[in-house]
């Protein structure tokens, strides 16, 4: 690196003092939280505390982003390949854990119990695949983007273009959801309209990434990781210490789970929870917290784990983080650190869920009159996130009236009456447990950090694919460094604006489509990537057919089962898991739809439940795309001529850490 920049972010003296710098930063953050806590005790209003958390953290990220500005292509795309394994691990953790992981994961575990653990497993185990199959080889390869690899390995622009298409399909809905999440948090804590808050979030995202590209995103993501992990751990550590006297929630929640099981028995006996009869005829909870396969059947549980894991190992914004380490060796240990930092949050989430569930069950078990619902239910009821007897908890008379319409309602709150949005658990736990507002502000700052950091990584992945792969490699290979960086920044802003405008319309579909990103990435990218590295005989034709078929089947299944459910069911009824009774019900609804078009919505809704192959939910569509992709690459490769000796030598070189990178930037050699 040039010596003139030694003192700036990313310069040598910065890299030599990373430990000190981020220790100081962490200390400063704690001091900031303490100051706000003191201000709260002195009577400063909650709104000011909320502003403090949102604006101060945003300002810090922006300052890091601006100090990391760069005019070097290598720094813009891969942070100059100078990021040590440990810090790249933290940055990957922030890149990986989205607003939804931070805010929604514990809520999902609260609702689904054991079955929700499919997400915990799926979103961690994928890193084993990243480490053993992919990351070190891509690092040796020396690419700027994931499509770079496809182009070199599978000869030319078409494979690159396909990879870009898959990349954009799986990243765009995802980034829209992140901007949506920043908008929700900013609007709640700044008290401004959602449509405005989205653009506040957008400004925060662009300030971090635009000037410094990957270099800036890396160092802000490290800062964001520290904020998000502190914000996630503090409330649940306090809860654990209050309840069991030990500030290690991950150990103490075994007791909480035993308590939950006891409460479930008591509530079932009193009719306060949806119940079933056991063999002896006693009432037991229908969906006990620890009982497996109450929400997903085993097939869907394991299919979901597989798709999330393979999807993790294929998402370009994650893979490109391992392009930034100084060596292949550090890329490997960096995957290990990434998983460690992600693990810190994910093994805490089930504890969070258990403590929250214990609080709610205790409340219900003691028999709470409808007129005495706790304050937090109203706070979130007003936002439409907590319902009792099917109505938002806003006005007590409405709730009592709605419950009164239910036959034999006892007049006390029952678990089956209560419906809590998954986002509420993490956001409301500080209030449920009666903690000061400063903790709620801290949680908001953490959620914001999680959403911003993921949005940055995704935006960069999309914009880089457009500027590097499409513009530079396919349209204008002679562009100067200056032009390339201008194009990269303009595209970043354009993509970010498109995502923000989409988010501002509150697209319900986009949010549910985020889960699809994993299946799409898994089916479109994983087979060709792994076969390209691990099987020299894989040919261009094989990879192209494999990508098109794997991705195509996956997309067909996702779109078909969701948007064209009736025709999908009619085409594939022989593969559906619908029982004869359901098939008859379908025929009845279909006749009704033919007679009266207004009744087709019911048909569509019902069809979504039966439009499937062997009962596989569409979130796990890669279960079909993956084997098809692998099989197609294998078969087509065998019937086409083997790749040239040059390509085979390149694959060999990719497998050996020693030696030069395969792809090199023109002009001055960067790095050491």
């Amino acid at each position: 690196m040039a010596t003139t920049k030694d003192a700036s972010i990313g310069g040598r003296s910065f890299l030599d003092n990373l430990g000190k710098i981020y220790a100081l930063y962490t200390g400063g953050f704690f001091a900031f939280v303490v100051v706000l806590a003191i201000l709260e005790q002195m009577g400063v209003p909650n709104k000011i505390i909320g502003y403090g958390f949102v604006f101060l953290t945003l300002a810090v990220y922006a300052v890091i982003g601006i100090l990391s500005r760069t005019s070097e292509v290598g720094e813009y795309y891969v942070a100059g390949r100078t990021v040590p394994a440990f810090y790249n691990g933290m940055a990957t953790g922030a890149d990986w854990m989205s607003g939804a992981s931070f805010v929604g994961m514990a809520g999902t575990l609260f609702l689904l119990g054991y079955d929700g653990l499919a997400f915990v497993l799926g979103w961690t185990g994928g890193y084993v695949l990243v480490a053993i199959l992919i990351a070190p080889f891509l690092r040796k390869f020396g690419a700027y983007t994931v499509p770079d690899f496809f182009s070199e390995r599978f000869g030319g622009s078409f494979a690159r273009f396909l990879a870009v298409i898959v990349l954009i399909c799986c990243s765009f809905t995802y980034v829209t959801a992140q901007i949506y999440a920043t908008g929700i948090i900013a609007s709640r804590f700044l008290d401004i309209p959602f449509a405005v808050a989205v653009y506040v979030g957008l400004a925060g995202i662009l300030l971090c990434s635009m000037l410094g590209g990957m270099k800036a995103v890396t160092w802000t993501q490290v800062a964001q990781y520290i904020v998000l992990i502190v914000a996630y751990l503090i409330p649940v550590v306090i809860l654990s210490a209050k309840k069991y006297g030990i500030p290690l929630p991950q150990l103490t929640y075994g007791q909480a789970i035993a308590d939950i099981t006891n409460l479930e028995h008591q509530m079932a006996a009193k009719g306060l929870i949806a119940s079933a009869k056991d063999a002896a005829g006693n009432a037991v909870a229908a969906k006990p917290h620890i009982k497996p396969f109450t929400s997903y059947d085993p097939l869907n549980y394991f299919a979901l784990i597989l798709c999330l894991m393979v999807g993790t190992a294929s998402l370009p914004h994650i893979l490109m983080r391992y392009f930034t380490t100084p060596s292949v060796r550090e890329a490997r240990s960096s995957v290990a650190w990434s998983l460690f930092f992600i693990f810190l949050l994910y093994f805490t989430a089930p504890a969070y869920a258990a403590f929250a569930k214990l609080e709610v069950y205790s409340l219900i078990n003691k028999g709470t009159q409808l007129a005495q619902l706790p304050q937090w239910m109203y706070t979130y009821g007003h936002l439409g996130l907590v319902k009792v007897c099917g109505v938002d908890v806003k006005v007590i008379q409405d709730v009592i009236a709605a419950c009164g319409k239910i036959a034999n309602h006892p007049g006390v709150l029952r678990m089956q009456d209560l419906s809590i949005n998954t986002d509420v658990i993490v956001l409301s736990t500080p209030e449920i447990a009666g903690m000061p507002y400063v903790i709620a502000g801290l949680v908001a700052a953490g959620g914001l950090a999680a959403a911003l950091s993921t949005a940055d990584g995704l935006l960069l992945a999309i914009a880089n694919a457009l500027s590097h792969d499409i513009y530079y490699k396919m349209i204008s290979p002679n562009a100067s460094t200056f032009t390339r960086l201008v194009v990269a920044r303009v595209l970043l802003v354009v993509v970010a604006l498109c995502a923000a405008m989409t988010a501002a319309t509150r697209p319900a579909d986009i949010l549910s489509m985020v889960a699809w990103a994993f299946s799409l990435a898994a089916a479109g990218i994983f087979p060709a990537l792994v076969m390209g590295i691990w099987w020299k005989r894989a040919t261009t034709a094989g990879a192209i057919v494999g990508m098109i078929l794997g991705f195509g089947i996956c997309l067909y299944y996702l779109v078909g089962t969701r948007y064209f459910a009736p025709s999908f069911y009619e085409t594939w009824s022989w593969l559906s898991d619908a029982t004869p009774a359901k098939a008859a019900e379908y025929a009845r609804l279909q006749a009704a739809c033919t007679a009266d078009a207004a009744r087709c919505a019911a048909l569509d809704k019902f069809a979504q439940g039966v439009a499937n192959w062997w009962g596989v939910k569409n979130i796990s569509a890669a279960l079909f795309g993956l084997p098809v992709g692998f099989a197609a690459i294998w078969l087509v490769s065998l019937v086409t001529p083997a790749p040239s000796q040059a390509v085979q030598d390149m694959v060999d070189a990719t497998r050996r850490p020693r030696g030069e990178a395969i792809v090199r930037e023109k002009g001055p050699v960067m790095g050491h």
């Binding site: 054991y114 653990l117 915990v120 497993l121 961690t124 185990g125 890193y127 084993v128 695949l129 480490a131 053993i132 199959l133 070190p136 991950q250 150990l251 075994g254 007791q255 789970i257 035993a258 620890i290 497996p292 549980y301 394991f302 784990i305 597989l306 894991m309 100084p326 060596s327 292949v328 060796r329 490997r332 240990s333 995957v335 290990a336 998983l339 460690f340 693990f343 994910y346 093994f347 089930p350 060999d652 497998r655 050996r656 850490p657 020693r658 050491h672």
Partner: protein
Amino acid sequence: MADGTEDRHWSRTRSLMWIMFVLWLLFSFVVHFFVDSLNQITFLGFPLGFYMAAQGSLIAFVIMLFVFAARQDAIDREEGQAEDI
């Protein structure tokens, strides 16, 4: 450098990958097939089947990756394929 070293480097790399892959299958799927039986056992106050999905497998993944990084590094060095930096 003799071709023999490079082949041996790759075959050892491949073996390590397969070991890790089988362990991955074990902790991602196989253990959880037996969740009901494991739940009969109590571990640290948890039903063991639940514990494995909530923490046990995750801890195994983290340890596996640090072991993998160290083992692969040893292979690279022993076979003369490690980086110079």
